[in-house]
Symmetry: C2
Subunit: 367 residues, 2 copies
């Protein structure tokens, strides 16, 4: 989920959205413009600026500048996909999982979204002095189980410890390596008019579960992260639809809205979503209302959005539903030739509104 690398994804003049209206953004305090803000890590406009102004000028090269979910590096036999991600979620444990699940799923899913077969993980741990072994063990158990399920080997690792108060429990970095197949390369530039927009499961669960764990909403019991490995869903889609699978994205930081905006921009197409078709669980909707969030901007860690050619749309939904993680898969919209670069949401009453990129900052430390 190398999302801060998506420098091009923020539109030039983003409009306000409900998250911003709800006051949950983090405006830059006066005199702080020469310092790192929380928003620089959020995947929004500030992240894009950080990348564009500071990272790309120094590290720019043909591979990095593709700015995908993972890098493609040439190798004899089969090209490799490589993706890296640091995990700083707070709290470390939450309903439905812990930082260990995220550290495996997040990176493996980024590889899967490139069409790669995830194979190897390297894991780096930064532990805070005083972290209890009980928590560490649960996190390592989660990683071990998640890696086994995903069919990846943890081949190398590193552990550092910093003094009490110099980290927040633990941070994990994982780097994943997967094998690419030239015959199956979904790509955010490949959406075209008439394609179906399909989501593999309920929207908004992860971000809302994290927020509920922090905020004590009163109905946390009904909220649970969706963290899951998406590679089997990609295999199922591939088998059912082959090259009919145009684009794959896991809508993590920035949520469904950002993922679809990126596809719309990269492919220069419009995307029309049907509000009534969006699978948003009741408790997620309720929590979002309490927190002033729009579920379309909330992070997910166990769903994918697929753009699939019209003639394979039904097969795609059925293929996803054949797997437990994809049992709530649904078609939620259509790629159009109208208003290229924009995502429109058609309400039940037939009105439309623009679903922008998140203009400011998102909830910090959800992954």
């Amino acid at each position: 989920m190398s999302r801060p690398l998506d420098a091009d994804s923020a539109p030039p003049e983003p409009a306000m959205n409900r998250v911003a209206q709800a006051g949950l953004t983090c405006p830059v305090p006066a005199g702080e413009a020469d310092r790192v803000q929380l928003g620089h890590g959020s995947g929004g406009k500030l992240s894009a600026a950080l990348l564009r102004e500071r990272f790309l000028p120094r590290f720019g090269n043909d591979v990095l500048e593709l700015l995908g979910d993972a890098a493609v590096i040439p190798a004899p036999g089969a090209d490799l996909a490589v993706s890296t991600d640091s995990f700083v979620v707070n709290p470390l444990e939450f309903p439905g999982g812990n930082i260990g699940h995220l550290a495996v799923h997040g990176t493996v899913n980024d590889l899967a979204m490139m069409g790669a077969e995830p194979q190897y993980l390297a894991a780096g741990f930064i532990l805070e002095e005083g972290l209890s072994f009980e928590v560490l063990d649960r996190v390592l158990d989660a990683m071990s189980e998640a890696a086994r399920e995903a069919g990846v080997l943890v081949v190398t690792g590193d552990t550092k410890v910093v003094e009490r108060g110099k980290a927040d429990g633990m941070f994990i970095n994982t780097t994943g390596i997967g094998r690419l197949d030239p015959e199956f390369r979904p790509d955010p530039t490949r959406a075209s008019t008439g394609d179906a927009v399909i989501v593999s499961g309920p929207i908004g669960s992860h971000g809302v579960a994290i927020m509920a764990a922090r905020e004590d909403l009163g109905f946390e019991a009904e909220l649970s992260s969706d963290t899951a490995c998406l590679a089997p869903l990609v295999s199922a889609l591939r088998e059912a639809c082959g090259p009919g699978v145009r684009c794959l994205r896991d809508p993590t930081r920035g949520g469904m809205a950002s993922a679809l905006n990126e596809i719309a921009a990269s492919s220069a197409v419009g995307i029309r979503l049907e509000e009534d078709a969006l699978p948003i669980p009741g408790p997620v909707r309720a929590a979002c209302e309490m927190l002033g969030l729009d579920p379309l901007y909330v992070a997910n860690e166990g769903i994918l959005v697929a753009i699939v050619s019209k003639d394979r749309a039904e097969e795609a939904v059925q293929a996803l539903r054949s797997h437990p993680v994809g049992r709530s898969a649904a078609r939620i919209g259509t790629v159009t030739g109208e208003r290229p670069g924009l995502v429109l949401l058609r309400t039940g009453l037939g009105a439309s509104r623009v679903v922008d990129m998140l203009p400011g900052d998102q909830l910090p430390r959800i992954c």
Copy 2:
């Protein structure tokens, strides 16, 4: 430098050494045995226990269990070496370099010690809210320059930001990928009686420069980290000695003593060092005396130790000296058949003492 993975390297009953005697170890406070201690990240006995008790049982596989500086993963054409490392050095900037230099050199050098040609880096940044862009820019400049010099491309990255007080300025993780050549595979198991022990440069500079930057010794101006890319030295050695290069190690955490103990144990040989031949700069020696450190246990970030067949020893020293980073290369000892697994230091007076593995903890956060 995935050194905490070297679970087997700590001898069963390590003796005290000067670092421990000087009170610079961090004994486990009562009631803290079920929590992470600083020493768990030091590369010493506690790190080995953490690895053996918590990581290996959960992630064990054929590749991980080799526990090298980097993992070897099979690939069509040429196997790949993969190494990951997190950098948490304090302070972020120090005489001779900054965390950005370490983040590139540390990982690239681990690949080079496997005989691999470093090719790609993935970089993950965890930034603390409030970090000044001035510092970040200098760190990124250092990484960019170091990557260019090392001939590696930064192909993917990730940035997270945590709240003020939840990290210590910045942490960086890098994962490196390099191409292995079956014709050149130095390995810590390959030392044999009669081989020469050669070091590429002065011992102890990095750790002492970091300590001096923290402690205000009064003669910091004379101390500077040796952080450097070692890949060109490996190329020079390879060209001069081919398969005569038996083992390569960069003596980082744990210093020269740990690197040589690991080789002695892995190859089941003795190693005899000549004290008078050790290239320890005067200021390093003076600082070590003030701080109660033994230079043999102090971390280096820009030297390698090579075990080279007897008949190629002179060529090896000359090859190293042909490169600026290796200009002080020297032969410092010999591999022997006596007392396998032990490293002995012969003093100028002809007496010998055992150079153990570091028993307890080392200086924290030197890389």
